[in-house]
């Protein structure tokens, strides 16, 4: 049942399997919840892990565990080899020019904080501006707010249309000679909108402004090519793409990373230390103080190998079909309003149900074995723009099937029955 270990090699694709077969790669999905089969539709929060990833993490601890970059002994060499091989795998996955452009962090949140506190603190001055959008997650708002407070800079916000798309004309007019960085989400975790990152980057680069892309919701669903996108930074989390929790990636162009001061400081990020002066190491090590999540990193590389083995084209096609199926099914339900109707949309389906609070929807769905997220999804400014206190969100992944959507729809019927009076 395991995908071949070497599935990262695109010349050896795995045999074509349907979503039901892929589902069997994920042991947790066989669980029953409240006596019902689990329909896991909370993938935008975190994804389940395939057996190959679980096995790879276990194998690291059973066979290879040692600290990296310092031991002269055999095990440390093995661990360092696995760790740096994972960096190279991830570099190829993103089509980075060099593996050194891959910095390991705890997740998207830390990646954005790193850029704000290193690039930001060294480049942003009083009166400067930082451009983000209305649809950002709190993790792509608050680090910039803190930077603005520290430096006396200010945030400018790209507005969105009612369909949930960025207003690119307004964006272009927001950029000035005081803009120091643009930071936007690739795929919205509430609306599912896929933003035109290439165009956003093109407009910013005309003025020499670097762009950070929050890819947390993108990487599990489509191939990401940082050179095609043209972005200067790209951030994502491993756990949202079938990898372990606690590990994430910041991609940055070598030119920018080399010009940035360190983030945290300590061991593994220095060249030499004396009480008079410390010399910092080169990127990516300059930004990786302390012992990293080595098992998490090799687990993440295994997840990427697994995804490449299935093929992003197939994943995207499957999710597109499922999103369409789900959108039609939900629209047929009385009193359902889908939130986020962008032309380019990924597998996120937010909705409100007339007369029923999302929290009640979530509880009733849970008892039917259907796992969804309810609330503001860490996007309070976006919710304010939409005029909604909360939504219910079903989010898809490659292992979801039409049966999951049918379970969602039938559970929503149950909500209606209960709230419309028996």
């Amino acid at each position: 049942m395991n995908a071949p270990r070497r599935s990262a090699d695109p010349s050896r694709p795995t045999p074509v399997r349907d979503a039901a077969a892929i589902r069997r790669d994920f042991p947790l999905l066989a669980r029953r919840v409240h006596g019902k089969p689990l329909a896991y539709l909370d993938n935008a929060a975190t994804t389940q892990k395939p057996q190959v990833v679980i096995d790879r993490v276990t194998q690291f601890y059973v066979e290879e565990n040692a600290n990296v970059h310092r031991g002269v002994h055999w095990l440390s060499e093995r661990a360092t080899g696995a760790f740096e091989e994972a960096r190279a795998t991830i570099g190829r996955f993103l089509n980075a020019r060099r593996a050194e452009e891959i910095v390991f962090v705890r997740g998207t949140t830390e990646a954005i904080n790193l850029v704000a506190q290193t690039y930001g603190r060294s480049r942003v001055a009083r009166g400067d501006e930082i451009v983000i959008s209305t649809m950002e997650h709190h993790s792509n708002i608050v680090p910039w707010q803190i930077l603005c407070e520290q430096q006396g800079a200010r945030l400018r916000i790209i507005p969105i249309t009612d369909a949930g798309e960025l207003d690119l004309d307004a964006y272009a007019t927001l950029l000035t000679d005081r803009t120091r960085i643009v930071s936007v989400v690739h795929v919205s975790n509430v609306l599912g909108t896929v933003n035109p990152v290439q165009e956003i980057v093109r407009i910013a680069h005309q003025r020499g402004i670097p762009v950070l892309v929050d890819g947390a919701q993108a990487v599990a669903h489509a191939a990401v090519d940082v050179q095609t996108l043209g972005c200067d930074f790209y951030a994502f989390s491993g756990h949202k793409m079938f990898g372990p929790t606690g590990v994430g990636v910041l991609y940055g162009t070598s030119a920018l990373l080399e010009s940035m001061p360190p983030y945290q400081s300590g061991g593994d990020m220095i060249r030499s230390v004396s009480f008079e002066q410390t010399q910092y190491d080169v990127p990516p090590f300059r930004f990786e103080a302390g012992t990293p999540d080595i098992a998490g990193v090799v687990g993440l590389a295994a997840a990427i190998g697994y995804l490449i083995g299935i093929g992003f084209e197939r994943i995207a096609r499957h999710e597109r079909e499922l999103l369409e199926y789900a959108t039609v099914a939900l629209s047929r339900l009385p009193g359902v309003r889908v939130i986020g109707t962008a032309a380019a949309k990924a597998g996120v389906l937010s909705f409100v149900l007339d007369g029923v609070h999302p929290h009640d929807v979530g509880t009733i769905l849970d008892r039917e074995g259907v796992a969804v997220r309810t609330g503001h999804h860490c996007c309070q400014p976006l919710m304010a723009r939409l005029g909604l206190p909360a939504t219910t969100r079903a989010s898809l992944a490659l292992y979801n099937t039409r049966e999951d959507i049918d379970a969602l729809v039938s559970a929503l019927h149950k909500v209606r029955e209960l709230f419309d009076g028996r």
Binding site: H357, H359, H376, M383, A390
Partner: protein, 148 residues
């Protein structure tokens, strides 16, 4: 053993959610706001007190069925009670909805309709939100209280 969803959403609860009692503004009393930012819930509880006794209680706002029904039941049950009696009632309610599922139920009158919350621990904060606001209104505090 999983509890039926009907244990939580009893007819009384659904009815109070659909037609909340005392859902109005009290102009001549104290008030306090309860907020549950994670859910986006926001309730304002109004209270008119004379010589330590609650003359009238009302509320307005937005919330899930449990929060709305709890607020509605609360306004009915505290009217005519002293502030100390209302506080004791809150304590009893809290005990009832945080007790183990098999613990015996005391009689809390109308509030007993909320007993099912004990089977759904994540919903305890929904049921207590209006009571926290009531407590703040009674104390004359002005800040927004939160159950997060």
């Amino acid at each position: 053993m999983a509890a039926d969803i009907e244990t939580l959403y009893r007819d009384v609860i659904l009815d109070h959610n659909r037609r909340p009692r005392n859902f109005r503004v009290l102009e001549d009393g104290g008030k306090a706001e309860g907020s549950n930012p994670l859910c986006g819930d926001r309730l304002t509880v109004y209270l008119r007190v004379a010589s330590e006794t609650i003359q009238d209680a009302a509320f307005q706002g937005y919330g899930c069925a449990i929060a709305i029904a709890s607020a509605s039941l609360m306004t009915e049950s505290v009217k005519g009670k002293t502030l100390a009696e209302a506080e004791a009632l809150f304590e009893q309610l809290l005990q009832m909805i945080t007790a183990p599922a098999e613990a015996p139920l005391g009689d809390l009158g109308g509030l007993s309709a909320l007993a099912g919350v004990r089977q759904f621990p994540v919903r305890v904060k929904c049921a207590t939100l209006p009571w926290q606001a009531l407590r703040a209104a009674a104390a004359g505090r002005v800040e927004v209280v939160s159950t997060e």
